[in-house]
């Protein structure tokens, strides 16, 4: 330090060189750090403008989060039934696009799958829609009926295990407690009075218990019953099932079994893991319907509005400091350096706008989920992808605003 303080030529009478050697520039990383620091100092100098910018980014952030949240919640609920079926592997007809409209597959494939030593149970599942009578008002509404042999334990709906025995009796069913309220107070009556009779189609059933599945796009509510009872209601060719759930022996490698079954079974079935089954259903609703587009459009609008706000702020900052920017150019700062200052400001706004935006979105998710029973939650990959979108939004705004730097001409300063 002492040496430094003594060194400057202005204090010593050091007049050796008329022309100092060309200067070595700062390292690229150090220069970037300095540019970002300058950007931050400039941003924080005008608190009101900074607050506006943060609010703009937050607004875009929350809007995108809500759109993606609603979209995710709708698609999650669309796959409720299959997601609740937690078995190890599934057999499905290759032409089945969505579970509400299944293509039937030969039931014999289930028994063929048992040939693999690692397959412990194979349970055919039967799906039909039927109307269920509201016990309070007597009106009818269409419900998804799921028939299978529950005793094998291959299909693990929440709440099912204690009901397995009761469901084996003739004319019994279990009702999905998460069904939409239009079916009437089915669950409340059961909890208050115990088993009672419900009419499904033209037939009386005894309600023996409640399970938890959740409504889907295809069905407002679900009813679970045994295979035998299912066959009493619906006249169907006995050799055909809609889906087959496979339970593997403990410790078996699901992907290896999946590969062996693919080789073993003919081409009229596909072998899917639980995740693949749910993903396929979700893809149908995402790609086969305009729902995904509607939310995409909403997200894009949010990003465009946010970008315009950030652009305006950055542009005003440059326009208001043109002579200072021109002075920096005269001092030897390159256009590229000043561009990094502007982009640095954009990136700072992205970060400090995203953090409160994320917080607010988490709060709103919780609030809306409680009010609407939609499954709204914040998976980390959504937070990351929205951050990348906000980052890109601010970066683009920075690139657009940067053009204004060309107006800072050091030759006009004199």
């Amino acid at each position: 330090m002492n040496q430094l303080l003594r060194k400057p030529a202005l204090l010593a009478a050091d007049q050796g060189l008329a022309i100092p050697p060309t200067r070595r520039g700062a390292g690229p990383l150090a220069a970037l750090g300095l540019a970002i620091r300058l950007a931050w100092r400039q941003l924080k100098a005008d608190r009101a403008r900074l607050a506006t910018a943060i609010a703009g980014v937050m607004f875009a952030c929350v809007l995108v989060f809500m759109q993606l949240g609603f979209k995710g919640a709708l698609f999650d609920s669309a796959t409720n039934m299959l997601a609740a079926m937690r078995a190890d592997l599934f057999l499905m007809h290759p032409m089945t696009q969505a579970s509400f409209r299944p293509e039937r597959l030969p039931r014999i494939r289930a028994w063929q799958a048992l040939a693999d030593p690692d397959v412990a149970h194979a349970v055919p599942i039967y799906l039909e829609q039927a109307t269920l009578r509201n016990p309070a008002t007597g009106t009818r509404r269409s419900a998804q009926v799921i028939g299978f042999d529950a005793s094998a334990g291959a299909v693990a709906f929440t709440g099912l295990p204690p009901l397995i025995e009761a469901l084996q009796r003739p004319d019994t069913l279990a009702f999905d407690a998460r069904s939409r309220p239009e079916f009437g107070p089915v669950g409340r009556l059961f909890r208050d009075h115990g088993p009672y009779h419900l009419q499904l189609g033209r037939r009386d059933f005894e309600l023996v218990g409640l399970v938890e599945i959740g409504p889907s796009f295809g069905a407002d509510g679900n009813v679970v019953m045994s295979e035998t009872n299912f066959r009493r209601v619906f006249a169907r060719p006995p050799g055909m099932a809609d889906l087959v759930a496979l339970r593997l022996t403990p410790g078996a490698d699901a992907t290896a079994v999946q590969a062996r079954l693919r080789a073993l079974l003919p081409a009229d079935v596909v072998v899917l893991t639980h995740a693949e089954l749910v993903r396929g259903e979700r893809a149908y609703w995402e790609n086969g319907t305009p729902i995904g587009f509607i939310f995409l459009f909403g997200s894009i609008m949010g990003l465009v509005v946010g970008m315009v706000i950030v652009y305006q702020i950055l542009f005003a900052d440059i326009a208001g400091h043109l002579s200072e920017y021109a002075t920096l150019k005269a001092m030897g700062y390159s256009n590229a350096y000043l561009s990094r200052v502007v982009l640095g400001a954009a990136v700072i706004l992205a970060v400090i706008g995203f953090i409160p935006g994320l917080g607010l979105a988490v709060f709103l998710y919780d609030f809306v989920a409680k009010a609407t029973f939609l499954p709204l939650h914040m998976p980390p990959d959504r937070a990351l992808s929205v951050f990348l979108m906000i980052f890109a939004m601010c970066f683009t705004a920075g690139l657009l605003a940067m053009r204004k730097l060309r107006d800072a001409n050091p030759a006009d300063m004199f």
Partner: protein, 232 residues
């Protein structure tokens, strides 16, 4: 290198506009400034002084003629070379043009950030030292808005000198100041530049500051009309 003089111009001609609107502002200008020399450039408005200053400062691309500034040929210089040259020149403008959101010391330190080899603490120490040299030791952490006009211009002088430039270019540095502050600023500038051995080219209309010059160059209508030999 040491023998080359900092500013050498030959046959410099410059015009604005195109076609019928073309207006020549510099005609065959030749100028030499020796190491450590303080040159005042005077002349009526529109005589081309400012254009000459912007060419020497590498703020504009050359059109015709030859110019060698601090060893850099300007005639065919690329933009990047001109930007690099500017970092070796100290500029002082009519208005101070300090960054309003930085303190006096941070403003001065900005001139040091372009060079490697100094860390933040060293930059701030140098800037503080330079501000003391212009008599602002008590004001280093003030924002420009809290300083008087004369003080701001002294900060601008400190900023121009702190990186030990090879040349100082000043354009009417006293125009916005009262007589006393103006005198103070130019004398500071002269004394500090003398100690660093830095040549100064200063454009002015202000007759009160002619006494600081080693040599006065007058311009009229794009030509240098009078170049008395250095009085030293």
């Amino acid at each position: 290198m040491a023998q080359t003089c900092p500013v050498e111009l030959h046959n410099v001609t410059f015009a604005y506009g195109e076609g019928e609107l073309r207006r020549t502002v510099l005609r065959d200008v030749a100028l030499r400034i020796e190491a450590g020399e303080i040159v005042l450039l005077t002349g009526p408005s529109g005589s081309g002084k400012t254009t000459l200053l912007t060419l020497i400062g590498a703020l504009r691309a050359m059109q015709q003629g030859e110019a060698r500034i601090l060893g850099q040929e300007l005639a065919a210089a690329r933009e990047a070379e001109r930007v690099a040259l500017r970092s070796r020149i100290g500029f002082i403008f009519q208005s101070h043009n300090l960054l309003g959101f930085l303190t006096a010391r941070q403003n001065v330190a900005m001139a040091l950030e372009l060079q490697g080899g100094l860390n933040e603490a060293e930059r701030l120490a140098r800037a503080a030292e330079m501000l003391s040299a212009v008599g602002l030791a008590d004001h280093i952490d003030k924002l420009p808005a809290k300083l008087s006009g004369g003080q701001r211009q002294r900060v601008a002088v400190a900023r121009a000198l702190v990186a030990e430039p090879g040349l100082i270019l000043a354009d009417e540095p006293t125009a916005a100041l009262d007589r006393a502050s103006g005198q103070e600023v130019v004398h500071l500038l002269r004394d500090l530049a003398r100690r660093q051995g830095t040549p100064i080219l200063l454009v002015t209309h202000d007759p009160r500051i002619l006494d600081i010059a080693d040599r006065i160059v007058a311009m009229e209508d794009g030509r240098i009309t009078q170049t008395p030999s250095p009085s030293a």
